[in-house]
């Protein structure tokens, strides 16, 4: 059975998830995972579905587009082969990198370049830039998986150096501290 990733983008409004899932149900698709978020006023939703053998990608795209375009929503579908054996994620330590500082262009690019250079995998990024010089208005929070072979001291130092260049205040902490404090 083929699987597909469906991405829905557009102005947020009530009923988007209901509209998409209604169509998928009607076309005998099974929703396996959904993630959605709203950035400012834009809805972004990603659905991973399994499709029945007699349903084509093109047919599903046409159905979804016909229903969702009037709502101002873009639809993107990509098929991929179902994996027969699950792939274990590589061993890593999870760190939280938080920055605060005046807004300017190139902040995400600057920090993420260092993380990538040390083979860190950004598993989640929350960034809010309201503009201006108030550090509390401009925050980036990266969740980063760092492989065991990475020189953590060097990563720390490079991130701090880059943050200084970008006039950012940076904190790098193992994820467990947040879970210990906030979760039972």
């Amino acid at each position: 059975m083929d699987k597909a990733i469906i991405a829905i983008l557009g102005h947020d409004r009530p009923g988007i998830v209901a509209a998409v899932s209604k169509i998928l149900f009607a076309r005998d698709c099974n929703i396996e995972n959904v993630s959605q978020t709203t950035l400012q006023f834009i809805f972004a939703g990603i659905f991973i579905i399994s499709m029945p053998a007699d349903l084509s990608e093109e047919s599903l795209r046409q159905t979804l587009t016909a229903a969702l375009a009037p709502l101002g929503l873009d639809v993107h579908i990509t098929l991929f082969e179902a994996m027969t054996t699950p792939v274990s994620p590589p061993q890593s330590e999870s760190y939280i990198v938080t920055t605060k500082g005046p807004d300017r262009k190139g902040l995400v690019a600057g920090i993420s370049e260092v993380i990538a250079r040390f083979e860190g995998n950004i598993t989640n990024l929350q960034a809010v830039f309201k503009g201006g010089d108030d550090p509390g208005d401009n925050i980036m929070i990266y969740e980063v998986d760092v492989p065991p072979q990475t020189d953590q001291q060097a990563l720390y130092q490079e991130l701090k150096k880059r943050a200084q260049e970008l006039a950012l205040d940076i904190d790098i902490q193992h994820r467990n501290i947040f879970e210990a404090i906030h979760r039972i």
């Binding site: 939280i96 938080t98 989640n124 929350q126 809010v128 925050i139 929070i141 969740e143 720390y156 904190d171 790098i172 902490q173 193992h174 994820r175 467990n176 501290i177 947040f178 879970e179 210990a180 404090i181 906030h182």
Partner: protein, 457 residues
Amino acid sequence: MLSQREILSTLEMLKNENLDVRTVTLGINLLDCASQNLEKLTRKIRTRITHYAANLVSACNHIGQKYGIPVVNKRIAVSPIAAVGAAMSSTQMVAVARVLDEAAEAVDVDFIGGFSALVEKGMARGDMALLEAIPQALTETQRVCASVNVASTKAGINMDAVLRMGQAIKQAAQLTADCDGIACAKLCVFANIPQDIPFMAGAYLGIGEADAVINVGVSGPGVVKNALERALDTNDQLDLGQLSEIIKKTAYKVTRVGELIGREVADYLNIRFGVVDLSLAPTPNVGDSVGEIFQSLGLLSIGVPGTTAALALINDAVKKGGAFASSRVGGLSGAFIPVSEDLNISEAARKGYIGLDKLEAITAVCSVGLDMIALPGDTTAETIAAIMADEMAIGVINNKTTATRLIPVPGKKAGDSAFFGGLLGQSTIISVNNGHNPNPFVRRGGLIPAPLQSLTN
């Protein structure tokens, strides 16, 4: 996925509210170092301490950086030296203290506790030698801390030991007169001393403990104060039950931090993890004060009517939150009221809001006791012993730990200022009622019997 609120509130606690791990204390058992030969004894002690503690500071720094939590102090607690060096004379005990000091310096810890004796029921030869050595030992060393347990609920109060400690405190103050009697700041006298305190000056490794153990002291008065003020900013009609709940939840978070760091340091050093001591321990920094919590709760200052009730509320909430957060809670676990070490309490003493009588009263509901209290230099040894006896009685009768850390500041009188420096802070000297008259009561000596454990009203 962590929420933005979880991450930012943690950072706020760390960066602006002085959340830290106040101390990671490595307990080291020295009992099998015992020898009748001073040279052999000190060699074994030095080797044992430098072996176990070689990587303590680097481990704490490494784990602290990993979690972004500073481990402020790294310390060592050893078996009671009165037992380890039972065969030593008082002069030799001073030599042992010097070796402890050197070993502590070699592994870069700021304090080493355990120059201690347990004499609640009687004094053995080694205990007598240690008590006699305390003033000189604390004068000659920088990092050694001493503690003497003179009372317990099971044994009563050893008044002979209490009087001796009064004399030892006077002597230690005189020997360090040029530093306002600072040797006394490294000396605690206890009732019901716990075996696993990580905080100085009372830390020692109990007889019933393992070869080595990591105990952790967490703090966080600033975090508690800010949590209360945030809640009251949102709703200033919160009642005391609701405020207690806020303290409880905050204590939970603070304790979880301590447990996480402690366990990780213990794993890193391959040493067993002991306990988290979930005390609110202030420093002389703005925003790191236990005294300020009283003001957040609505009191003019610590010391005014309502203080004992407020402290009972705080202490109970801290214990409840901490006990839920960790199954390995021990040590003192409560709110400390060290006068000179807390800017706000020191200021309350200066303004006359709090005096010796009220300080003694509130120790009935908090940990630990009359802590870091500067007294007039002419306070007699008998009077100091009598103050200690009063404090011990509170602990013995209420089945809790109490202690004193009293400093009769040579050449200074009530109202003057005493300066101890660093974490020890400074304080206005508090007057003592009838402080230099004879006190035949404490001179009688003997043992105040252990109290009845029923008929508890």
